[in-house]
Symmetry: C2
């Protein structure tokens, strides 16, 4: 059922031709297909996957062609539109039942980022009430999810940038920009806004092994924006902090529990420990869709472990000695007490805890 078609980049898709985050679309609905920028191939190759069905979208999510908590939520929402169109064309009588398998497949694509389940739930909420062709209603909802994410990112950018003192060095981890979201970005949106406001002296980015999202994706976005970026090996972060070069560590999130404990890309927790040790500020930037207030604490967040091969190889080539094994957790959990500011589109929570988060989320 999976159905990808690869398209090599035409001239107008050349990375050098992008002038800003407005031009980068990790996820797009185009001509009744879900068009995904294949992020595994960046920055060397700009290729798109054209997904014709939900299984192809699920596969693109599980294989990390599209990644980033908000982006996979948006991709999954569009995947539901594809599924509804196909199931309805096959049987206008049973599509509402038939589509459950597609939604289940999308839900199984990755376990940690809650935005995926949140987006699927929003789409599912419409199913019972639809009369006739479900395509237009569901496409409108998927587009709303997408547009709201961009608007949330813009708002978080403003709110987060307002916290940053002029002349700050900032360090970020993984990729949280246009590629990880509907557009603009969460943590990278804050950095963009703070840079535009003239508050940021230096942007440092962890390369973020094993997938190198920092080196491949964050650097790519910042270079296109004309924002100078300095990459570091992940192991150099604490030493960079010791040099006094960083005032804020700014990261995204894949799931935030009711008490503020935050699952994010592996390596985030160590950054938070080092930031606290050096008296630096630690900011988490994530839309409300990232909160899972059913979970009391981070201990309840399911943490994905991926294949050891991602550590043992690089770009398909073995790097490690044959016979070695690897442990490859994709996320870690940063306890709320290490977070100085939690920035959402609904507002900023300083020193987050369960009470403040409940107030923010209205639960």
């Amino acid at each position: 059922m999976s159905n990808h078609s690869h398209t090599a980049c035409p001239g107008q898709d050349n990375p050098a031709a992008y002038s800003s985050y407005d031009s980068v679309r990790a996820v797009e609905w185009r001509e009744d297909r879900v068009r995904l920028l294949d992020q595994r191939r960046l920055p060397q190759h700009t290729e798109y996957l054209s997904c014709r069905d939900a299984a192809a979208v699920a596969q693109a999510i599980s294989t990390m062609a599209v990644r980033g908590a908000p982006a996979i939520g948006i991709a999954a929402a569009y995947g539901v539109v594809l599924a509804a169109q196909q199931r309805y064309a096959f049987s206008s009588a049973t599509w509402r039942t038939d589509i459950e398998a597609d939604i289940a497949a999308l839900a199984c694509s990755r376990p940690t980022a809650v935005n995926l389940f949140w987006a699927l739930a929003r789409m599912q909420a419409h199913l019972a009430d639809i009369t006739g062709d479900p395509g237009p209603v569901l496409l409108a909802e998927a587009r709303r999810i997408h547009d709201e994410d961009i608007a949330a990112n813009r708002r978080m950018g403003e709110l987060g940038a307002a916290l940053i003192e002029a002349g700050s060095g900032v360090l970020t981890h993984c990729n949280t920009g246009s590629l990880a979201t509907g557009g603009y970005g969460t943590a990278l949106g804050v950095i963009r806004a703070a840079w535009a406001a003239g508050k940021v002296n230096n942007v440092y980015a962890d390369e973020t092994r094993p997938w190198l999202q920092g080196a491949r994706l964050t650097a790519w976005e910042l270079v296109q924006d004309g924002i100078p970026v300095t990459l570091i090996a992940d192991g150099a972060a604490a030493w960079l902090m010791r040099q006094g070069e960083v005032r804020w560590v700014i990261v995204g999130a894949d799931r935030i529990a009711a008490n503020g404990d935050t699952a994010n890309k592996i390596g985030t927790y160590g950054l938070a420990l080092a930031a606290r040790h050096h008296g630096l500020k630690f900011m988490v930037v994530a839309p409300a869709s990232t909160f899972d207030t059913k979970l009391r604490s981070g201990a309840d967040i399911p943490i994905e472990t991926r294949t050891p091969q991602e550590v043992l190889t690089l770009a398909g080539q073995p790097v490690a000695a044959a016979g070695a094994s690897a442990w490859n957790p994709v996320f870690d959990v940063t306890p709320a007490e290490l977070i100085d500011a939690l920035v959402t589109e609904r507002g900023v929570v300083l020193a987050p805890d369960a009470r403040k988060i409940a107030a923010l989320m209205g639960v």
Copy 2:
């Protein structure tokens, strides 16, 4: 003047044929050449450089064909033998003056590991007293440096292993084994001895970007020893500690100041911070030749910064977006107060400070 000859691996040099650390020789004096295992090519290729002069040895050190603080000291000592033989053959009258340029070239090959300067000083101490052909005297001294290093490693292995509780998980960083030393290893020697004593449940190794010494070299040595090893991305170390899987973090050193502050591979400092946060023990294993008691503290240790290309590329392939820059410090400094045990061949110093180190070193 540089003169390397590459030798592809003959059958008996196949990595699979090594049964233990006794068979691995990173540095060897063989048929009036310094034979170096080219560690940039491991573990995929077992190739040797045959250095015919001091410049070739210096180049092998600066390009990291041979690396590891004790190993580069030993290589440099043999490099002095090559230089003396050639200078003496050229002029028995002026060789003692002429060789200074060779020693200077060796001293300039890397800045941070003090074992290099220590070994050169030991060799230089003989120059004034030599009558006739300097080769035999200097070769004997270089061999002594080499043999003493192996003996020191064995002793440190015993002393360090005695500190480790049965049933411990251990985490190490970079490579500190036979490849980094005369043989057996410093931190990895302790792990070998503790494993042999049945005290170690699990050995974890950071992959250690950007050079991946953990994935390429430490895993290679441990696989040959039949010691199971689990690699992790550097960013996963703090999360591993949080799981309760590690009791000791065990690392080597490139230079230790009079107060115990320790320069070691970039990433060590962050590990020490995380270990302290989780109540784990942090052990530094290094021979007396690694101490630089002229330096009051770690602030005085020169820290090498290498080319950004090492972060921006991997195995010669670009990984980062074009236009990004990188900061590539090769070492960091771990303050003495984060070190629980400093293991040398002269004894163990718990909670090291200037007074205890002065007593140990007899200064």
